[in-house]
Symmetry: C2
Subunit: 270 residues, 2 copies
Amino acid sequence: MSALARLSLNQETTRNWPMPDLVAGCVAAGVRGVGLWRRQVGQYGLARTAKLLRDNGLRATSLCRGGFFTDPATWDSSLADNRRALDEAAELGADVLALVCGGIPDRDLDGARERVVEALAVLGPKAADRGVRLAVEPLHPMFCSDRAVVSTLAQAVDIAERFPAEQVGVLVDAYHVWWDPEVYRQIRRAGPRIAAFQVADWVTPLPAGALTGRGMLGAGCVELRRLREAVDAAGYDGPIEVEIFNEELWARPGAEVLAEVVARFAEHVG
Amino acid sequence: MSALARLSLNQETTRNWPMPDLVAGCVAAGVRGVGLWRRQVGQYGLARTAKLLRDNGLRATSLCRGGFFTDPATWDSSLADNRRALDEAAELGADVLALVCGGIPDRDLDGARERVVEALAVLGPKAADRGVRLAVEPLHPMFCSDRAVVSTLAQAVDIAERFPAEQVGVLVDAYHVWWDPEVYRQIRRAGPRIAAFQVADWVTPLPAGALTGRGMLGAGCVELRRLREAVDAAGYDGPIEVEIFNEELWARPGAEVLAEVVARFAEHVG
């Protein structure tokens, strides 16, 4: 299988590219998968997005994102929103819902982490029912307070293993886990729990807020190919999503960014 | 022992406070320890700083910092500089040299981590000879690429345990380790390896570069008292340094910041 066959473009990498142009651009570039975001899908229309993908033979490799269920004050609405996200993923044909689990309300880190498990227990059966796997994504620890209290792959696997494998897996994003002295051991351990794999590079300095500091493949210090090989060796043979949040990329034409992604992917990942 | 008896003001918290004012301010506030920085000590003079502290009954609780020995291109000069730092610490009466071990040259994370061990093997005997303990500081993983490839307390203890306890310990900084699902277990494990303990709070959003984003005690989400109690339970009864890098604090008068530190310390840590 060529490197290109596994490459999926997460649409936040080219966030200003309108949905039809994104789809046409992927088809033209030979890219067969896209990682979708709910906001963008909602703007274009759920059924319309599903049809556009089907008509163009494109696969939705994941839907981003569910999660944010750590705050007791918004527990019910969050679960309702996650159920909708599962319905949307099913309609799009995405078999993975990426979970950014949420941050810390009221300085209660342990409590927030417990609520992640509680939410998965509620959502798991619904996910299995819709044929969508919940993918717990450990985020870089710099996002622990405000985005995801799941901070390491070990922790994500610990959580996932409390549930049937078809309900809950983990999402390995190279950008979030590369620094971890345990990462290769935990990738081996995760094995069939790996539901999705994403790549971006780590570059410094971080911008204010840290969120949009991701680098183009090969621009930073992450051993992307080594991580990809480790994930493969653990048994994962699914799509590899390129997900880069970067203001400079967002300012460029989508097709130009995608062409660079394709070339860099072959050089640094595939 | 009152909370104040263990409080040490790391001088980077009040970085623009001249050395004599800092010392006088600590004495006036009843603070008995200061964490020193080599740059500031160098500016005021090494022997002069040592005398100023002695004359005022103040203890240097640590010297910041050694380290940055992960780059083969600067290996010899880095080790020479670390030897000088050990001499300076000894002259100041500081029994701890804080080590920020250095980042990743040439995308070789494993190699950088190996060089940390190699450097400690070279420096350890010299440290013991000078009566100064090398304190390996795990830095938050957001600094892994450019400041410290030691990213978790587990990793720091793994490294320290390869050496005699009187040569190499670990520095536990709440700001760097609070997010870690393993932190309380690793603090227990570290036990007598804990050579120093520092506190600052985690606040968001991070500023550009991430370095100066630390928050005043109680301003963020870190369970400072719980961490302090865990460190105590592990057998540590030494000074607790308040080390906050924050542009807003730096713009305020040192005495005013110290007064706030003393009050917040009692409320959130001591």
